[in-house]
């Protein structure tokens, strides 16, 4: 049963059609890499435990033969205990190092004034407002140029929200009284779902938007037009 589920999990992971594993930016790729790395390292643990678990329960379960046996007292085993202390530490270090590197990268906001597109994102119950540098404002649709640096400045008018476009990057909270920043470089044109990820009240579920990543030329055109 459980193995069957595991196999389905593996199958779906390799299929990679899950949004967070199908990234369209460097940031999201790094995060997808961490997800997969974590998954495979942890599969080692699950594998070892499963093997021991199945072996021991099958081999030592009560049968008519051993029913009245009295197992020998066994205090412990120093070597074994050292092994299962040290091995997990090694596995964890393998996960911790990339985690530290990628976490630092994800929070690093580059200051590259020329190229960068700045978008002011305002969350409020229950809609988003995206404001571009030339004053253009949209609500349901976030339009971004491909292959250009985008920095979101996240502000809230009321409660906490969280700005999330799963294929573009992990989420970042939108907190009243604070300005959070998030930087991404979309590298593929297309239309992607955006959502509010922090529970914010009655219509939290409906606080969605679409993200359109378009060519740089189309973007400039769209930005200067009156079209929504």
């Amino acid at each position: 049963m459980k193995k069957l589920l595991m196999l389905t999990f593996l199958f779906l992971l390799s299929g990679c059609n899950l949004r967070t594993l199908d990234p369209v930016s460097e940031t999201a790729s790094d995060q997808a890499f961490l997800i997969k790395l974590g998954f495979w390292i942890m599969m080692v643990v699950v594998g070892v435990v499963t093997i021991l678990f199945v072996a021991f329960t099958l081999k030592y379960r009560e049968t008519d033969k051993n029913r009245y046996d009295i197992p020998k007292h066994e205090e412990g085993n120093r070597t074994l205990e050292i092994i299962w202390t040290v091995l997990p530490i090694i596995l964890l270090v393998c996960l911790a190092i990339p985690t530290v590197i990628i976490t630092y990268q994800a929070s690093n906001i580059s200051a590259n004034p020329e190229e960068t597109v700045h978008v002011n994102v305002t969350g409020e119950q229950f809609k988003w407002t995206f404001e571009y540098e030339n004053g253009k404002k949209t609500h349901e649709k976030l339009v971004l140029p491909v292959n250009r640096d985008v920095i979101f400045h996240l502000k809230s008018k009321d409660v906490i929200h969280s700005f999330w476009v799963p294929r573009l990057a992990g989420k970042k909270d939108v907190i009243p009284g604070t300005v959070n920043k998030l930087e991404v470089v979309p590298n593929k044109t297309g239309t992607y779902q955006g959502k509010c990820a922090e529970f914010c009240g009655i219509l939290h579920a409906d606080m969605r938007f679409t993200t359109e990543v378009v060519s740089q030329q189309d973007f400039e055109e769209w930005l200067s037009s009156k079209k929504k």
Binding site: L12, G38, V45, E62, E74, W84, L95, A96, N108, K171
Partner: protein
């Protein structure tokens, strides 16, 4: 039909139909129960339990009420799953506000009024017996703790009946939970319910610590204790650190809500302060739920493998380490808040470190079974189900600890799957295992093994069906706490399977009820003191455990003393002179104090100043009364005069 309009005294009341259905059910359901109790003449028995300070009776009530709340919160879960069964679903009233109320009551009840008290109940039943104590150190305080839990739970429970259920999640994040955004009584119920029951939990912890440190049988050094008392000891220390933080956070929130303070809002305050306070409590809380379950599993696995616990010392040390590290990881719930990369990586690494002692425990359990004789009876089945289930929850925990990756997982169904794997895997499986295991010690009767196995398998399969697909829903971008999703989201199949699984779990609970009903239907014989061929002291006393089970204290000189005595065919030596016993006399005082707190709480919830005053005075009066009136004094005097002879 979603609402009903009722005209009372010229005032138009608009009441949702789910509330009406609940009232109707209550009105139809309660009288038959009262009639049955009266007809069977059960009132004296109920009164005996309600006023007794005996640890087994208090523990039984803890378990009874937790199971009751488990059904309530479980029904909430089923309603959640019905609403989420298909995309763009409109199930009954459960969209928007109602959905928010229902996942809030589900989560809050499960954590505070099911999981925590269920374990405290089992501690009450088992710990004193396992360490050769006649009762807890402070029996009166114990009964107060029980009443505070039941009162807090009832306050929270009632919110729904007055159409004012809390609606901001079990985490109650500010500023959403402040007066500006959610006015009205709803979230006052959350504050008062948790405040009252939290105090009870603190009392229980103090009691456990003193009992374990002071009342062990002669020769039972700490290092000879079974692992459940050890886990209880560490858990109690965690409670002592964590619950006061919750109490303070709730008090500050109360000031914000009631008196216009601005701790969590405005120029001086900040909403993120709440998150820190909440998770400084909240993360230790999950270990408060896990450690006792670990203790139960250690005892059960050792018992049903007929072997001593493998690596006892490292088992104890890893409990301590998990508890200690558990205090240093709270901000892993806040990776997306923007605390900066240093804080994020720091908390990522401390969190990953917890996996090491946890892994040690897993392997020690496995090696306890190695070379043993594993009896596949219901308690052991739950312990066996626990190992792979909990490991799966643990590994997703490590994945979540990876800070940058968590920015994707955070607040999605991946997290919902993760914490159900760990909480149900440890606490709920542990509580079920413990209930089947100690049921004979509580009642003198055994639960049926076959029905128990039905319960186990249906629950296990239902559980994995419910929660495994949620990992994938989360990875595909489904946020938690949403009442709706679309076809394009591509999460329908996961959700549909999940709903089926939830009903399997619900169905499995019927086997437990049937099992308990069956055990008590006919006057079966008493199963005797030691039905499982046990190893620890609780199996040396009769079942159900009597009032003063260790009148003559056993003298202990090793671990698993009972097992040693059995294999050597020697009796356990006893101390001739009894030790002073915590006196257990029936008392109604805790009931009265709880009633006064109940009144006080409703005064706060609805801002009725006069009710607050009356409730406050009553509480104070009962405190003062208690200070001067100790019902144990006659008992102590009697004992002293007896000693003179």
């Amino acid at each position: 039909m979603n609402v009903m309009e009722i005209n009372i005294f010229g005032e138009l009341l608009i009441i949702p139909t789910d509330v009406i259905a609940a009232w109707v059910l209550m009105i139809i359901g309660v009288p038959p129960v009262l009639y049955w109790i009266t007809k069977k003449r059960h009132w004296p028995l109920i009164w005996d339990y309600a006023t007794s300070t005996n640890h087994r009776k208090v523990g039984t009530l803890y378990i009874f009420f937790s199971v009751l709340f488990f059904f309530r919160a479980g029904i909430d879960a089923l309603l959640i799953r019905l609403q989420l069964a298909t995309p763009e679903n409109q199930f009954w009233v459960f969209q928007g506000e109602k959905y928010n109320e229902i996942f809030t009551t589900h989560g809050t009840m499960m954590i505070f009024f099911v999981a925590t008290p269920l374990l405290i109940g089992l501690m009450n039943v088992a710990v004193p017996l396992q360490i050769g104590a006649n009762d807890l150190a402070f029996p009166f305080l114990n009964l107060i703790g029980l009443y505070l839990f039941v009162t807090g739970g009832t306050i929270f429970f009632l919110a729904f009946f007055f159409n004012a259920a809390p609606n901001v999640g079990w985490t109650a994040y500010t500023p959403l939970s402040t007066e500006d955004f959610t006015s009205g009584p709803n979230n006052n119920y959350y504050i008062m319910g948790l405040q009252v029951s939290g105090l009870g939990t603190i009392f229980a912890a103090i009691n456990m610590i003193v009992t374990i440190l002071r009342l062990r049988a002669p020769g039972l050094k700490l290092t000879r204790m079974p692992l459940f008392p050890w886990a209880t000891l560490f858990t109690s220390f965690l409670i002592l650190v964590a619950f006061p933080v919750l109490a303070i956070a709730l008090l500050l929130l109360q000031f914000d809500r009631f008196y216009g303070a601005t701790f969590f809002l405005g120029p001086q305050g900040h909403p993120v302060y709440w998150q820190h306070l909440f998770w400084i409590f909240g993360h230790p809380e999950v270990y408060i739920l896990a450690l006792p379950a670990f203790g139960i599993f250690s005892d059960i696995i050792s018992n049903f493998s007929r072997k001593n616990v493998f690596g006892y010392t490292s088992m104890v040390l890893s409990l301590a380490l998990i508890g200690l590290l558990g205090l240093m990881v709270w901000a892993h719930h806040m990776f997306t808040v923007g605390l900066g990369p240093f804080a994020n990586t720091f908390f990522a690494i401390t969190t990953m470190m917890i996996a090491v002692p946890t892994g040690i425990k897993i392997f020690n359990w496995l090696f306890t079974m190695r070379r043993g004789v594993i009896r596949m009876q219901t308690p052991m089945m739950f312990a066996l189900g626990f190992i792979p289930t909990f490991v799966m929850g643990g590994v997703t925990g490590v994945m979540l600890a990876s800070a940058a990756a968590d920015m994707q997982y955070h607040d999605t169904y991946f997290v919902v799957a993760h914490f159900h794997y760990v909480i149900i895997g440890s606490t709920i499986f542990g509580a079920f295992a413990g209930i089947y295991y100690w049921y004979p010690k509580i009642t003198g009767k055994m639960l049926n093994d076959k029905l128990g196995k039905w319960h186990f398998w249906l629950f296990l399969i239902g559980f994995h069906l419910t929660f495994f697909p949620q990992h994938l829903a989360g990875l595909n971008g489904m946020p938690r706490r949403v009442y709706d999703y679309t076809w394009e989201d591509g999460v329908f199949v996961y959700n549909f399977i999940s709903t089926i699984g939830a009903f399997l779990m619900g169905g499995s609970m019927l086997f437990l009820i049937w099992n308990i009903y069956r055990a008590h239907r006919k006057k079966e014989e008493n199963v005797g003191g030691d039905p499982w061929d046990g190893r620890t002291l609780e199996w040396t006393v009769p079942s159900p455990s009597p009032e003063h089970p260790f009148e003559k204290m056993p003298i202990i000189d090793r671990r698993d003393m009972l097992w040693w005595a059995k294999t050597q065919d020697k009796p356990i030596p006893v101390e001739e002179h009894p030790r002073a016993i915590p006196i257990s006399t029936p008392t109604v005082q805790p009931m009265l104090i709880a009633a006064a707190l109940f009144i006080l709480s409703f005064g706060f919830i609805y801002h009725w100043i006069w009710v607050q005053v009356v409730g406050g005075i009553l509480v104070l009066v009962f405190f003062v009364n208690r200070a001067f009136k100790d019902e144990r004094i006659p008992a102590y005097e009697k004992e002293e005069s007896e000693d003179e002879y």
